[in-house]
Symmetry: C2
Subunit: 257 residues, 2 copies
DNA sequence: TTGATTTAAAGTACCTTTAACTTTTAATTA
DNA sequence: TAATTAAAAGTTAAAGGTACTTTAAATCAA
C-alpha cells in the first residue's frame, strides 16, 4: 500500500488523567507529576508512560496508576479519551499520545519517588473561560488551542515558565477531557465514580459544579435528585456532624461502562 | 521513566470509515475495500493506510480518501472515532489502529485500482442484534466482541471465510462507529453531512433509520421536524416526481464540528 | 426548654419538550 | 372530478425540566 520508507513508527505514550475527590475539601482533584527528564524537565505534566509490547493501552493506563501512586486498579474504570497526533506536539522524536481517564473511588496519599521528582493532587476549579487546577504553589489552566506554543525547554519561548504552564499539549488535553466529562454528565456521568461507595446529593453536585462552571448552590438539590433518581440508590442516612438536617446517603445504581 | 528495551514502536494504521448516501436507493453506504496483500489477503476491510512522518492522523485520514476513491476532501469533515490497541488485533507485527470517520457530501463512482483489488459501496441495514453492510454478493455484520476470533488467514479457523467476515477487528470497529453515530444523533448528528447541500425530511429520517434500527415510517415526520427545526433551514420546495405533495427541501444550518 | 439557625428533604406550580395521533394540503391518477 | 398518495401542519396528553416554597431534622444560644 504505502512504501516502507515513508512509514512512521513513532513512540506511543499513554497519558492518563487520574481523577479523585477529596472528602475533606469537597473538591475534585487531578493528579499531576513533576517531570525529571527532558523534554520539559521540571515542568508539571499529566502522568505518562510508554506502551510496552504485549499490553493493550488500557492495561498500560492501569499500570501507570500503580507506578505513580502505588494503587492497584485491576478491574476499575478506565476509559479512552482521545488520541493526540499532531507532529509538533513533542519536540524532537515524534510521539503519539493515547489519552485515557481513570476515576479513583478514593483519594490515596501520594508517596514520593514513583518515577517523577514530585507528584501532587491539584484541585479543580473554573474561570469564565477555562478550567483551573491548583495547589498551594501553582495554578494551571486548560487551553482552547491544541498546540498553543512551541516547546519552551527547547527554544526558550517568552512564556517558558514551568510554574505557569504544563508540559507538551497537556493544557489542551485537559480541555478535551473536561469538555468530554461535561458532555457525559447528562447521560453517563462516570465521573461520579470518584465519590466512592457512598455519598450525599451535595457531594454529587460538588462534582458537577466545576464542569458546569457554576457554584454548587446554583444546582437545585430537589431537581438534581429527581433527574438522577434511577441512577442513585438510597442507602440510609448519613452521620450527623454539624448543624442542619443530616443528608441521606446514596450509592451509584449501575453506571454502565 | 521506562527502560528502552521494553518500549514498543508499533506500526500505526489509520482506519477511515467513509460514509455516504445513495440518493437512488435512499440508503446509507460505507466504503469497503478488498485487500490484496497479507495479512487477510482477499478479505474485505475498512480502508486503511499507514501514517507518514510529518502528517497528523487527520491528514492521513483525508489522504486515504484521496487514494482510495480519488476524492479531494481538504476542509471536509473528518472526526476521530477511537483507537484500537489490543495486541492480538493483528497477526504478526503489532499495529495500532487510529479510527476516523469521514462523511462524504455525495457518493462518488468508484474507480478500480486505487491500491486494492476492489472497492465497493456497501448498503447499511440492521437486524435485531447487529448492523449489516451488504452488496449484491456479500453481507457483513458488526459484532459485539472486540477481537472475536483468531486470525483466519494465519491459523485457518473454522469460520475462515473471506466472504462472511471482514479483516482484523473491523466488524468490531463498525459496531463502535455505529453506536457512536447513534449516540450523537440526539445532539450532534454529523452523519447528516452525507446528505449534501439539500435534502428532504424523509431523507434525513432515512439516514437515522438504520442507526436507530427502526423503519423510516416509524420515525414520525412531524415530530422529527419539530425537534430539528433549528438544525434544518428551509430552502424551498422540491421538484415533483410522482404522486403526493412535494416535500420541502432543507439544508443543515450549522452543525459545529 | 424553647426558639432561632442551619441544612437538606419534600412538595408545588409552571413551562417546555416529547410522543402519538389527526387533519389539511398539494400533487398524481383513474 | 373524485380517489389516491405523500407530506405538511395541527392537536392533545404525558413526561421531564425549572424555579420556587414548605417541611423536617439536626445544632446552638439564651
Amino acid at each position: 500500500m504505502d512504501s516502507e520508507n515513508i512509514l512512521e513508527r513513532p513512540f506511543i505514550t499513554i497519558t492518563n488523567l487520574i481523577w479523585s475527590f477529596d472528602h475533606a475539601t469537597n473538591r475534585v482533584n487531578i493528579l499531576l507529576v513533576k517531570r525529571d527528564n527532558d523534554p520539559y524537565n521540571n515542568y508539571w505534566a499529566l502522568p505518562e508512560t510508554f506502551m510496552r509490547a504485549q499490553e493493550s493501552a488500557e492495561e498500560a493506563a492501569l499500570r501507570l496508576v500503580k507506578e505513580k501512586i502505588g494503587m492497584d486498579l485491576s478491574g476499575s474504570h478506565t476509559e479512552q479519551l482521545a488520541t493526540f497526533t499532531n507532529p509538533l506536539r513533542t519536540p524532537g522524536d515524534r510521539a503519539l499520545s493515547l489519552g485515557y481517564m481513570t476515576f479513583l473511588p478514593d483519594k490515596p496519599q501520594l508517596k514520593a519517588g514513583y518515577g517523577a521528582s514530585d507528584a501532587r493532587w491539584f484541585t479543580m476549579g473554573y474561570t469564565d473561560k477555562t478550567y483551573t487546577f491548583s495547589d498551594s504553589d501553582h495554578i494551571f489552566q486548560s487551553t482552547d488551542c491544541p498546540v498553543q506554543r512551541t516547546y519552551y525547554s527547547e527554544f526558550g519561548g517568552t512564556n517558558a515558565d514551568p510554574d505557569k504552564h504544563l508540559a507538551f499539549d497537556h493544557e489542551w488535553i485537559l480541555k478535551v477531557a473536561c469538555d468530554r466529562i461535561r458532555n457525559k454528565l447528562d447521560y453517563q456521568p462516570n465521573i461520579l465514580l470518584i465519590l466512592g461507595g457512598k455519598f450525599t446529593l451535595k457531594d454529587a453536585r460538588r462534582v458537577y459544579s466545576p464542569f458546569l462552571k457554576v457554584r454548587v448552590e446554583q444546582i437545585d438539590n430537589s431537581n438534581f435528585k429527581k433527574s438522577h433518581q434511577e441512577l442513585f440508590t438510597d442507602i440510609g442516612s448519613s452521620e450527623v456532624n454539624g448543624p442542619g438536617r443530616p443528608a441521606r446517603l446514596y450509592k451509584l445504581a449501575h453506571l454502565s461502562a
